[in-house]
Symmetry: C2
Subunit: 349 residues, 2 copies
Amino acid sequence: MKRVTIKEVAAKADVSYQTVSKVINHKVEVLPETAERIWAAVEELGYRPNYTARSLRSQRSRTIGYTWSPTPHGLTNPILDQFLQSMFHTAEQVGYYLLCFPYHEDNERQLAVYAELIDTGRVDGFILSSIEYKDPRISFLLDRNFPFVGFGRSDDNVVFPYIDVDGGLGVYQSVKHLVERGRRKIAALAWPEDSRVGNNRMAGYFRAMDECGLVIENQWIIRGGGNYEFGYQACEELLQLPATIRPGAMVALNDYMAMGAMAALQKHGLLPGEEVAVTGFDDNPIVQYLRPSLTTVRQPIWEIGKKVIEMLVYQLDEGKLPDPICSLIPPKLIIRQSSQQRLKKGEEA
Amino acid sequence: MKRVTIKEVAAKADVSYQTVSKVINHKVEVLPETAERIWAAVEELGYRPNYTARSLRSQRSRTIGYTWSPTPHGLTNPILDQFLQSMFHTAEQVGYYLLCFPYHEDNERQLAVYAELIDTGRVDGFILSSIEYKDPRISFLLDRNFPFVGFGRSDDNVVFPYIDVDGGLGVYQSVKHLVERGRRKIAALAWPEDSRVGNNRMAGYFRAMDECGLVIENQWIIRGGGNYEFGYQACEELLQLPATIRPGAMVALNDYMAMGAMAALQKHGLLPGEEVAVTGFDDNPIVQYLRPSLTTVRQPIWEIGKKVIEMLVYQLDEGKLPDPICSLIPPKLIIRQSSQQRLKKGEEA
């Protein structure tokens, strides 16, 4: 467990230790072969810069604060573990750890925790998630000019560094796929209108329907709690519509709603994917095992965890905002049995 | 966001602030009515002791280190979010935060992180989970005499503070329930023999079968990867046994294996819960929605998260090990459709 020193790296790479130091701190340019040799030695020996010593010198805590909104009862958060692990690993590479603290629904109480962590020097910056419209944490941190990066957007006119999944693109892909397979009457199981994530995703529904020249019936958009029970009930409502406007497909904004809808179809003797196609969002590992398996949208979570940390550490190291200040990552449509059947000409639903 | 002071608590409770200070630090006994009044005022005003000041005085970091083994690909960890939230909330009550760091499969690398966190004074203690036999972290921390508490046991002869779910009791309850409903030939879908958690759970299977006077066929115990695919395949194997020893019930050590077994039964035209009963372990929120819904064992995760932190903070505050040094928490059998049917006399399976 002895720590590998910079001198050992230098010996292995056959350069001076000053050169190693400059290269790994990006303070100098050397021949590509030399840089290559140094990085190979770093890798092989498992060298890690002594960030603790640096931290003492710089008075930084080398700690990043993070909290998240807990999963409601009866659900699991399918991306939590991967997102956390990705952040931990990326942070460790550059000598940071994450300090995690509880999420408080009460805004004043929540902000008091952020203030305490800043005032006591316990963290150098924050990662925010579960971001909503008019998120008070964002204005608070902008006012204090304290570094942070969001996983998720807020209001359009507020400028801050973030990464987000392009949820609209995910739903857009789902709708386009359904149309391509012969579906025309496509309903949406959505969250309430004040949901920021929900609105981002629904934008893709509206855009795709519009591009395909399909008129949306008011009754096709049902908004509610985002859980299994809501999906079940929304599907029941949709099945009671007159035959002319009864949907041939349902796009759910998450997998739980999609699962509820599939169960309601089955209760009515309908096979999801035949009479009515269903799609979800998240690619909860469970949905590949459903019968029929569920078409859904997978978010590149590992990549997002890595990027939010990199964007924050850039701010801490360089003292300026990342450029670009924000970006959207495309998700991936995973096509499975619940939607893959191609309807014949004249049998479109 | 102004911090509530101890004087405001004292005014509200109509006592001196010295009394408040002593009561909330458990340094004095007062009349129960007085204590009640003080705690009510603490609650109502949202008072939190100024631990940061204390921390500066004591040179403690008031930080607890934690890492966990990531969920394998294609699975979710159904208890992670609740366990973390419970620890965060309990820790915050007493002025602690959690520092989270990545899990490394390589033992030497893993221990180097523990050593660094200790040596740099970043944490005052650790919570360990994903504990296995001969866990090198335990001997390392015992050698260094550094405070920690485990969620989970290790080898029987190693003494350290831990809380664990009595997984054996959970499986024992499952088997007893199955026998009570008329099942006699009960198979087990288990982990490999070097799995500490697996062996704790299997002990309950052996004890219950023995108590019920049921002889276990060798072919009934199938060990493997603990995922859906393994459960599916194990069930297929069991269905190929001769009728005389073909199982009428399958106890799976987790929900994923149980789900795989249910799918295999359905593929063979058998209805889980009728011809063959199935039980799982974990109460993954999804399993209440399966058709049939799955009988399973629920772990009291919130309580465990709370207790591990309390046991660690006790060590930090009092400088001695908690008494009792370890305890087992009973889990709860949740009976659903996959096992509830009672077989008639003479029709036992």
